[in-house]
Symmetry: C2
Subunit: 413 residues, 2 copies
C-alpha cells in the first residue's frame, strides 16, 4: 500500500490546480455527435416528407411511420404491429406506461394500480436512477434485488413475485445494464419468460437501452425475451423500451414501446386520446439515414471507435492503480455506457465527496439505488464517454488517488 | 322553398357521381405546408446546433431552449419563466396536465384529484372533441355550458364554480373557439380572471390554439387573461396552452404550457422525472425561421392567403343557398379553422349521414359535445381548410343540397 502522506499530498496538489471534470452522466461526446450530423440534411424538401402516401408534415400517424416501425422491429426481432413509435424520450414512454397502469390498469378489466393498495416494484441494484425516480414519484414501494454475475438473482425474483401480490412491476436493463454492464444470460432471460407472478397484472419493464451498443469483441448477445415468453403465453408480461438516444442525437431522437397485441391495443386506446402524435419528419430523417439495422450497426461502430479508448483508459487505470486493494473491484463490460466501480463498505460516499472537492463530478454515490441509498455505500458509477481522452486521463488520475486515499488504513474522516 | 323533388334528384345525382370529399378535421392544406418548407433546411450543420452554450444535439434542456421560450412569451405576452416548451402536441401537454392533477394534485399540498371523489369539468358547447375525450378517459363528469355571442355564459359559470366543489376544471378555446369561431370579449375574460371557485384547485384549461390565426379584418384581440388574473392574485387558476401545429407543420411542431410560477414549478418537478426532454433541434429550427413574433405573423399571413378564399367560399355558399331557411344559421369567424353551422332541432345527424352517403365526410354530428351527444342535434362543424378550392366548392354544393333537403317540410327519414 502506498504511503498515505504521498497520496494525501498528491490529492491536495490536484485539488489546488482547480480542474473541472464531469463524469456524472452517460452523455455522448461531441465527437460522437459529429458522426450523426448527416441526419440534419436527410430531409430537405417538401416532397421528401411524403411517405407511403402520408404527408408527414401534416396531422396523423399517432403510432409511427411504417419504415421506423420496421427498423425497430428488426432491432428488437419483433413484429411491426407490436411496436409504437414515440418522440425523443424512452423515459417518457416508461413514465407514461406506469401512469397508464396507475390510472387505467394494465389491460381492459384489470383494476387501476392506484386502486390496488400497496404497489411494489423489484429493482435490481445498482440500477438506473431515473427508473427509480419514476417509481418514487408514484409512491411505488421499491424492493432491492441483488445482482449475480449473469443478471439479477432469479431465485429471489421467482420467489418474490410468486408470493407477494403487491409486486406489480420490475425494472430491467437487460443488456449492458446501467451501471453494472452485465448482460442477462440466456438462462436468466428464460427464467424471466417463465415467471409465475401472483399479481396477474405484473409487468417487466424491459429497458433495452443498449440493444446495439456493443464495444468489445463483437459484443454480447441477449436472448429475445419476448419470443421466449410467447412460448409460455407470457408475452403480456413484458413492456419493452428502446430508443435512438445513443444511436443518433440524445437531444433529437426517437423512442419506441414494444409489447404484446393486447398491451399495445390498450396503450394505443389511451395514447390516441393523449396526443395528436409524435414528430413524423424526424422519423423520416432516421428512416433515411438508417434504412435497416445494418446502417444502425455501422453508426454504432463509429460511436464505438470513440468510446472504446475511453473504456480502455478507465480499465487500464483501475488495473494499474487499484488492483490488489482489498474490497475494490470493477466491471469490465463489453458495451454500454458505464463501468461500475465497487469500494469497500462505507467508502463510496467519501470517495465521491473527495473527488468533487477536487473538481471531479461523479454520479452521486447511492444514485444508482432506490431512494438514493446504497445500503453498503460501496458503488460508484463511472461514465467515461463525455470527457475527451486527455481530460478523462487526468480525471482518472484524480479518481484513483481518491480511491486509494479512502481505502488507506490511515485515512480518517 | 325549393321543390323537394328537384332537391332529391340533385342529391341522388351527386351521390351517383361517387365523389370523395373530406371536411372532417381542421387540417392545413398541402399548399399551406409548402409555405413552411424552409424549416427543413433551417439547421444543416453540427455547429448550428450549439446555442447559448448548449449543444442541442445532446441531453438536457427539459423545459426548452431560451429562444423558443422567448418567442412563446412574446406570443402570449407572458414571461419566459412562466413557460415550458414541449414536443409536437399541445394535446399531449393537456392530457398530461390532467393526469398530473389526477395523480399528484395541482400543487404541493393539494389532494390528487383521483382521491377527491367526483370530479367535474365545465365544457362550453359546442367545443373541441379532443378536450372532451380527455375528460371522458379520466372519468371526469362533463357539464355543458351554453355559449353567448361573446363567449361562454359567465352567469352560469360563476354560479356553478362557486356552488359546486366537484368542478375542478374547465375547457376553453378563448380565441376563434373550435368550432364556434367566437373570441371571448374583454368582459368575459375579466370575469374569468375574477372567478371565485369553491374548489381551491379549480383550473381553467385555456387552450389558446388560434392565438395568431387571424383571417379577416386584422383579426380579433383577446385580452390577456393571465395579466388580468394576476391583478386579483388568481394566476394559479390558469393553465395556458399553445402550439405551432397550425403555424409550422402539424406533424413536426412545438407546443408550450404557460402558467404561474407555482404551477410551473409543480409541473416541472414531475416533468423532470417523466422525460429527458423534448427535441431541441426542432426548437432551434423554429427559432431560426421565427426569430420573433413578427416572423410568426408573416407566416400566418401566408396561411391566411390560402385559407381566406375557402372561408369566403363557405360563407358565400351558405349566404346564397341557406339564407332564409328557418332555424339555419352559421358563424362568421374572423380567424381560426372552423365555421359552425346550425340546423333546426334534430336535423344535424341526418344531414351529416346524407352527406356521408354521397361521399362528403364531415365531423360526426355531436362530436363537438361531451360524450358525443348534441342534446339538440343541431350543430355541424365545418372544416374548410384541407380540400382545394374547387373540391371545396363541389363539397359545398352537396352540403347545401343536403341541408335544404333535411330542412324541407316534405323530408321524411
Amino acid at each position: 500500500m502506498e504511503d498515505f502522506v504521498v497520496l494525501k499530498n498528491k490529492y491536495e496538489k490536484i485539488k489546488s490546480e482547480n480542474r473541472k471534470f464531469d463524469m456524472s452522466r452517460g452523455k455522448p461526446a461531441l465527437a460522437q455527435l459529429d458522426t450523426v450530423n448527416d441526419i440534419l440534411t436527410a430531409i430537405t424538401k417538401g416532397e421528401d416528407c411524403v411517405s407511403s402516401g402520408v404527408d408527414c408534415r401534416n396531422y396523423g400517424g399517432v403510432d409511427g411511420i411504417p419504415q421506423i416501425k420496421a427498423l425497430f422491429a428488426e432491432i428488437l426481432q419483433m413484429e411491426e404491429k407490436e411496436i409504437i413509435i414515440s418522440g425523443n424520450s424512452s423515459l417518457n414512454i416508461m413514465f407514461d406506461t406506469v401512469a397508464r397502469a396507475m390510472m387505467f390498469g394494465t389491460v381492459e378489466g384489470e383494476k387501476p394500480w392506484i386502486h390496488s393498495g400497496k404497489i411494489s416494484f423489484l429493482c435490481p441494484v445498482p440500477g438506473y436512477d431515473r427508473h427509480f425516480a419514476i417509481s418514487e414519484a408514484f409512491g411505488i414501494n421499491m424492493i432491492n434485488v441483488p445482482y449475480k454475475s449473469d443478471g439479477p438473482d432469479m431465485d429471489f425474483i421467482e420467489k418474490a413475485v410468486a408470493e407477494d401480490e403487491s409486486i406489480k412491476g420490475m425494472w430491467c436493463v437487460p443488456k449492458y445494464s446501467n451501471p453494472t454492464g452485465i448482460t442477462y444470460s440466456d438462462d436468466v432471460v428464460r427464467r424471466f419468460a417463465t415467471l409465475k407472478p401472483k399479481a396477474r397484472d405484473f409487468r417487466v419493464f424491459w429497458d433495452n437501452a443498449y440493444v446495439v451498443h456493443d464495444l468489445f469483441d463483437g459484443g454480447e448477445t441477449l436472448l429475445n425475451v419476448f419470443e421466449e415468453a410467447k412460448k409460455y403465453g407470457n408475452e403480456d408480461m413484458f413492456y419493452i423500451f428502446v430508443s435512438t438516444s445513443k444511436i443518433s442525437f440524445p437531444g433529437s431522437g426517437l423512442a419506441a414501446f414494444a409489447s404484446s397485441k393486447k398491451n399495445i391495443e390498450h396503450a394505443l386506446s389511451k395514447i390516441k386520446i393523449q396526443t395528436i402524435g409524435p414528430d413524423k419528419i424526424n422519423q423520416l430523417r432516421h428512416a433515411k439515414l438508417y434504412p435497416d439495422v445494418k446502417a444502425v450497426i455501422a453508426q454504432m461502430e463509429k460511436h464505438a471507435e470513440i468510446i472504446r479508448p475511453k473504456f480502455n483508459a478507465v480499465l487500464s487505470a483501475f488495473e494499474k492503480e487499484l488492483s490488489g486493494i482489498e474490497g475494490v473491484w470493477w466491471s469490465k463490460p463489453k458495451g454500454g455506457y458505464f463501468i461500475s466501480l465497487n469500494l469497500p463498505h462505507g467508502k463510496a460516499k467519501k470517495a465521491v465527496a473527495l473527488a468533487k472537492d477536487a473538481g471531479l463530478v461523479l454520479t452521486p454515490a447511492g444514485a444508482s439505488f432506490p431512494y438514493g441509498i446504497d445500503p453498503d455505500d460501496t458503488n460508484i458509477r463511472i461514465a467515461p464517454t463525455y470527457p475527451s481522452l486527455p481530460e478523462l486521463e487526468q480525471a482518472l488520475d484524480l479518481l484513483c488517488t481518491v480511491v486509494k486515499l479512502v481505502c488507506n488504513e490511515a485515512y480518517k474522516d
